[in-house]
């Protein structure tokens, strides 16, 4: 005999329907945003942490139309901008939107062609490649904004490789629960 309150919650959850999907998707996104500034011992390598927002975006874009994925990429890019860029540098800083839009679009394109079977290894590989693209987009923007080229590209190498490695390794943590739902 379930408790009346838990019965109420189950009824409310079942009644949500489409809202359920939205709630779960958004909930996962919010958790990913809150994970971004976190540095737990063992989760970082040379001060670089996994890019949780990118994992979420790739997972979301896998089975979506390209246009939708690009729009989602732009939104996620704006969200990451809000998490990082200080107000006074808003117009002088590289935006994450370019990299995110590009990677989301490419991911949607990949899956549409059905070249790749859907499993953990292939998803991790996609995330690895997409992280490299996303971080390189930032480096390209930085070079156009007039930062020291040698410094930017030395940093790009380091950040890109480590970030890609860490992000792809942590992909299943986000992908597994979400793939059960979507």
């Amino acid at each position: 005999m379930p408790h009346p309150i838990s019965k109420m919650i189950i009824k409310w959850w079942q009644g949500l329907g489409v809202g359920q999907n939205l709630l779960l998707t958004m909930g996962a996104l919010v958790i990913c945003c809150l994970l971004m500034p976190l540095r737990l011992p063992g989760m970082t390598l040379m001060e670089v942490a996994p890019n949780w927002l990118l994992i979420w975006l790739i997972c979301w874009s896998l089975n979506r139309p390209v246009v939708l994925a690009i729009v989602a990429g732009i939104s996620i890019g704006l969200v990451q901008d809000s998490l990082t860029i200080p107000a006074e540098f808003m117009h002088l800083s590289p935006s994450h939107t370019w990299g995110m839009a590009l990677t989301a679009g490419l991911t949607a394109l990949l899956q549409k062609q059905r070249y790749i079977k859907e499993n953990f290894i292939s998803i991790a590989l996609i995330v690895f490649a997409m992280t490299i693209i996303a971080e390189t987009m930032i480096a390209i923007q930085l070079s156009f904004l007039g930062f020291d080229l040698s410094e930017v590209w030395a940093k790009q190498q380091q950040i890109t490789l480590i970030s890609a490695l860490l992000t792809s390794l942590w992909t299943p943590v986000v992908y597994f629960p979400l793939s059960k739902w979507w």
């Binding site: 500034p37 942490a49 200080p86 107000a87 800083s93 930032i138 410094e151 950040i159």
Partner: protein
Amino acid sequence: MIDTLRRWWLRYASQLFLVVVGLILAILLRHNHGTVWLEAYQWLSRPFQRPYDPQVVLETAKLRELSYRLQELESQNAQLRRMLQLPTVLNGSPLWAQVIGRSADSWWQQVLISKGARDGVKVGSIVTGTGGLVGRVTEVSAHGSRVLLISDPSSQVGSALTRSRALGILRGQSLSTGVMEFIDRDPDAKVGDIVTTSAFSTLFPEGIPIGKIRSIDLNHQPAPEAVIDFSAPLSMLEFVQVYAPSHF
């Protein structure tokens, strides 16, 4: 007469001898300025002396002396500045805050701290840690703030060398090093010179320690450059001090 003398001698010879020896000893002691007593006292008191490491005692005393002198100099400096109506250096009681997070991507060098607008933190507040300057508050929410570290490439700090007063602008390079670009074509700079914030900095008060010169490239174009080791360990910050920006 002789008989009397002989009797006296027989009776007092040994005592006379002792008195003369005593006199000679006294003269010798006087001549030595009493070092024998000192030696004897030291020798006798040795079992009661506490063993100690002179190095440690001296270093703590030295540190105390320096800290007293520093306090004295700081207060003098503040008085003189008041008299000259110069802007004051960093003072006032700091707000302690815990570092709760770092930048949300790999390119920005930021930390999140646990004090916000409710605690009196404002945009532009100065953040220091053990060792020296850490950064500047760029965003404030009710209970937290985001700090742009001096190690960020877009952070610009007006800085000066303490020895020669050579001026420059410091930008971040990595978590432990920054690059100081000198304004002067031929700056008086040496490896090991101490770098602090300069009086011409609009964002930071004067005189906060930043770091030490590791290497210098005087031929660098367009301006001579030096690589600076930050004195605050930015990669392992746990607690920081926040100063209100209204102090200068």
